[in-house]
Amino acid sequence: MKQKIAKLNQRLGGALYSGAFIGPSFVGVMIFFIIPFFVVGYYALIDSPVGQNFVGLQNFSRVLGNHAFQTATGHTLLFTAIAVPGAVLLALGLAVLLEQKIPLKSQFRTFFLSPMMVPVASIVLIWEVLFHQNGAINDTLANIASATGWFSYDRAAGEWIDWFTSPFAQVPIIILFLWRNLGYNMILFMAALNNIPKDLLEVADMEGAGRFYVFRKIKLRFLSPTILFVFILSIINSFRVFREVYLLTGSHPYGRLYMLQHYMNNMFDNLDYQSLAAAAIIMALFMVALIGLLFVIEHRYGKDVEG
């Protein structure tokens, strides 16, 4: 009996401490994220903050049927479809390259990470200088054209592309995205490569396995959870590129740069809370589905690799 009481006491004490330590964080998260999120959910279901009539899924169908929303979603998906696989594959390539024995390894690693700390505003400036119609990229392209004669790229003939308003408007942004995120992803891959048991690789080497075979059959297998993680992380980061696009091209950019984030930002400015709430919920559900998928897969693969 006494033991039981002591045990109960311990458990109660545990719960008390557990609650006390997590308290400040949990209360804050509740107040600023979880509770208002339910309010957002409520807003998505009513007609206006004044009337507060329940309209079911009307807001959702209006948002989903909205032309601007559809265009924005299309552009966002296009961007994600190009930028995310690029961010995964190129980072993996960099990690594999950097993993080998080369001089100045840690300096190179620093260089690849350096984009993290450059202020957004100066990135925007540099990108402007690079990709402006009269900018450095076009200048270089013209130089290449005139030096090699492979193609014609003449400014006077109006052949210079104005990148940010052209059908290629996403190109500079994709480059910017890769430039900013590859270093981070590369570090994640380097850590994963480091975690592959060395004896396994040595055995493979002794057995005379080719390098490509080793990469495919051993390394890729151990890397797969990280590949997935980086994949999801890159999708999330691809939603964050808005900051740069916004600063480069304003709230109503031309053509293919108008993305979901612009749509939502403009909803904010128009005080259209119902559409905003519905769009936020749609986006949140999409993210939850994605993260849930990651969890499930990681659980499976993770066991597979660790066990």
Partner: protein, 292 residues
Amino acid sequence: MKKRKLPVLIIRTVFIGFLALVFLLPTVLTISNSFMSQAEISANYGVVFGTAAEGAYMAERVNLKLIPDLVTFQQYGTVLVQTPEYLELFWRSVILVVPIVLVQIFVASLAAYSFTRWRPKRKEIIFFTYIIIMLMPFQVTLVPNYLMAQTLNLIDRYWAILLPGFVAPFSVFLLTKFMRRIPISYIEAAKLDGAGEWQIFTRIAIPLCKGALYAVAILVFIDYWNMVEQPLIMLSDRSMYPLSVFLSQINQAEIGVAFAVATFYMVPSLFLFLHGEEHLIQGITYSGGIKG
């Protein structure tokens, strides 16, 4: 391992080195351009920004130069001496970001300790919720943040940015992952010696996580130092904007000054980055994978 041939090594090094330099280029450009005179800047970039003064020399083509013709502190003089507003803006960034970094890490290390020490099933659900919030794009989390700020009457006050920053779940997640690596025997031994939870937290958990705390501090600092969305949404009064937002609005008109301000603004991140790079890399490494 087989011996690699020297030419392969050279080609590989040159290739990676070239890529690495491309990655570094915008940083170097920002810094080197900040030492150019206004005249040189407008000559170089006038064709892009159309800022060259009348009659002044303007190159016909854009001119990306890494080394200034003449190293001058003219821009810095403008920024730091003639227009003290920039210092004020810088200070505003400091008073927004430093409290967020410190409080967020304090609150997060408490929570991380709780997630490490007591792990009933329902707490794993809370942890999962934290991860979801952490991974949500700004466009989703800013809406609830804004609603609450409005309810609490915080709009147009720094508290609207500070308070959500204090409790943002990112550092909870990262610190929990670190703390869960502490061998349980350390904690049990301390308990046997009669240490209370607070003592275990301050004497064992925190000291063992020092590197992690530093890593998280750098990541959080860099993230908030560059904030743009929060001030734009929470503050309608432009005169309250921190330098990160202001910087993005001075771009075109005074491009020379912009480089100097950007460089000036980069100094704290640069210092943290170079000083704590090993910790930073460790921090990034630990952020991989979402399992606790």
